[in-house]
Amino acid sequence: MTMFDFPDSITRTRPAEGNNPATSVRISTVYLLRGVIVDQIITFFSQWEHFSNPYKKKLIWFKSEFTSGKPDVVVVDEGEVLTIARDRGLEGVITVYVREDLPETAEKVLPPMYLRVMPLLLPI
C-alpha cells in the first residue's frame, strides 16, 4: 500500500449564478517550481519555451546575479537551480510554485518584417 497516494486534482462545484447553472470545476493540486529567491544577489526564474506545443514544451531556467552592481542573466540547468537552492541562502530560500493548470498567456510572436507577406493592394 502506498501512503498519501491521492488523485492529483480535486473537484469543486460552483453555485448557480443567474441563468448559469451550477458547474463542476476540476482543480489541479500539482505545483511546478517556477522560481527560487536565494538571497538579494541570486534569483532563479523560468520561462516556458514552445508552451503551446506539448511535444516541445520545455521550461527554460535563468539565473540573475547582481554581484558586481550590474545584472547578469544567464541560462542555467534545472539541476543547478535545485542544488543551489538546497545548499545556499543564508536566510533560507523562497521557492515560487505555480499551479500546473494555470493558463498562461502566450504572446503571439510575429515573424520579422522582411519575412511577412503583406496583403496585395490592387488598384481599383
Binding site: M3, F4, F6, P7, D8, S9, I10, I27, T29, V30, Y31, L32, L33, V36, I37, E78, V81, L82, I84, A85, R86, D87, R88, G89, L90, E91, G92, V93, I94, T95, V96, Y97, V98, R99, E100, L102
Partner: protein, 272 residues
C-alpha cells in the same frame, strides 16, 4: 480612434497605479503588524497578499472582469482538536522551519518539511482553497545555509487538501505507529546485541550455536575431571561420580523461538 484608446489606457494605468500605491501605503501605515505576527517589514508575500486584497475590494477600477481572489491567496483551515484552536487563514507564503531531523539525513524533500508545518503536534491543518501562485519559505533550524531539503521541480499537495483530510490523518496515524514500532524494534535488537573484541554477537546466534553444541553432547556421560586429577586409583570405577547430561536442547529451542517472537512479533502484536 487609435490615439483615443492609447490615451485612455495610459490614463487608466496611471489612475490604477496611483490608487494601488496609496491603498498599500495607507494599509501598511494603519496596521504594521498582522495578527499575532511580529514582522513589521513589508515582505514580498505581505505585499502580494495585501495587493490581492486591495484589487479584490475594488476591482471595478481595474481591467479585471472578476476578482483575482485565488491568484496569490490560499485558504487554510485547522479544525479544533485536543489543545488546538480552530483556525481559518488566507496566506500567500508558507513559512517552513526545516528541523535537523529532516536536514541531517539528507534524504528529505520539501514535502516532508511541509508535512511538519501542516501536521504539527499543535494540530493538523489543510488547504481549503489552492492559490495559483504559492510561495514557500524554507529556513533551517540549525541556521545553516540553503533549504536543507530537496526542492522538487513538481509536487502534488493533494495530501494537504481538505477533501482528503480524514484519509490523510488516518494514514498519518498509521505511519506514526509504524515508525514507533520500527524504533522499538531497533532498540530491542540493540539490547539483544553486544560487541566483544570488535565482533558483533547476537543473542539468537549465540543460542543457535549453543543448541548445536549441546545436541551433540547431550545424553553422553559426564566425567568429573577433578576426580581424575586427585590421582586416586579406581576413581573411574565409582559409578556415582558419573552423571548423564540432561536433554536441554529442546528447552533452548523454545528459548530461541520466544526470542524470535519478541524481536519480530511486535508488529503482529500491534496490528494483529
Amino acid at each position: 480612434m487609435g490615439s483615443e484608446n492609447s490615451s485612455f489606457g495610459l490614463q487608466s494605468n496611471c489612475r490604477l497605479a496611483e490608487y494601488l500605491n496609496n491603498a498599500l501605503r495607507n494599509d501598511i501605515w494603519k496596521a504594521k503588524q498582522r495578527g499575532d505576527s511580529t514582522q513589521e517589514e513589508v515582505s514580498a508575500s505581505t505585499f502580494l497578499h495585501r495587493w490581492t486584497y486591495i484589487v479584490e475590494s475594488n476591482f471595478q477600477r481595474t481591467y479585471l472582469t472578476t476578482p483575482l481572489s485565488s491568484f496569490f491567496r490560499a485558504s487554510i483551515y485547522q479544525p479544533p482538536g485536543e489543545g488546538s484552536l480552530e483556525l481559518r487563514e488566507t496566506l500567500t507564503e508558507i513559512q517552513t522551519w526545516v528541523s535537523k531531523n529532516l536536514s541531517d539525513p539528507g534524504v528529505s524533500t520539501i514535502l516532508d518539511a511541509l508535512e511538519d508545518t501542516f501536521w504539527s503536534t499543535a494540530g493538523s491543518a489543510c488547504i481549503t482553497e489552492f492559490s495559483d501562485v504559492l510561495l514557500i519559505n524554507l529556513k533551517r533550524e540549525d541556521r545553516e545555509g540553503g533549504a536543507g531539503v530537496e526542492i522538487l521541480p513538481k509536487m502534488s499537495l493533494a495530501r494537504f487538501a481538505s477533501d482528503n483530510y480524514e484519509q490523510a490523518q488516518t494514514e498519518l496515524r498509521m505511519r506514526k505507529g509504524i515508525h514507533e514500532t520500527l524504533d522499538r524494534l531497533r532498540k530491542r535488537e540493540d539490547s539483544l546485541t553486544w560487541i566483544r573484541a570488535g565482533k558483533i554477537y547476537r543473542a539468537t546466534d549465540v543460542l543457535q550455536a549453543t543448541i548445536q553444541y549441546l545436541s551433540g553432547v547431550e545424553g553422553t556421560k559426564l566425567v568429573d575431571v577433578d576426580d581424575d586429577d586427585d590421582g586416586e586409583a579406581g576413581g573411574r570405577m565409582d559409578i556415582d561420580s558419573e552423571s548423564t547430561l540432561p536433554s536441554i536442547s529442546a528447552l533452548l529451542k523454545t528459548s530461541v523461538e520466544t526470542l524470535g517472537e519478541k524481536v519480530q512479533g511486535i508488529l503482529v502484536f500491534r496490528y494483529g
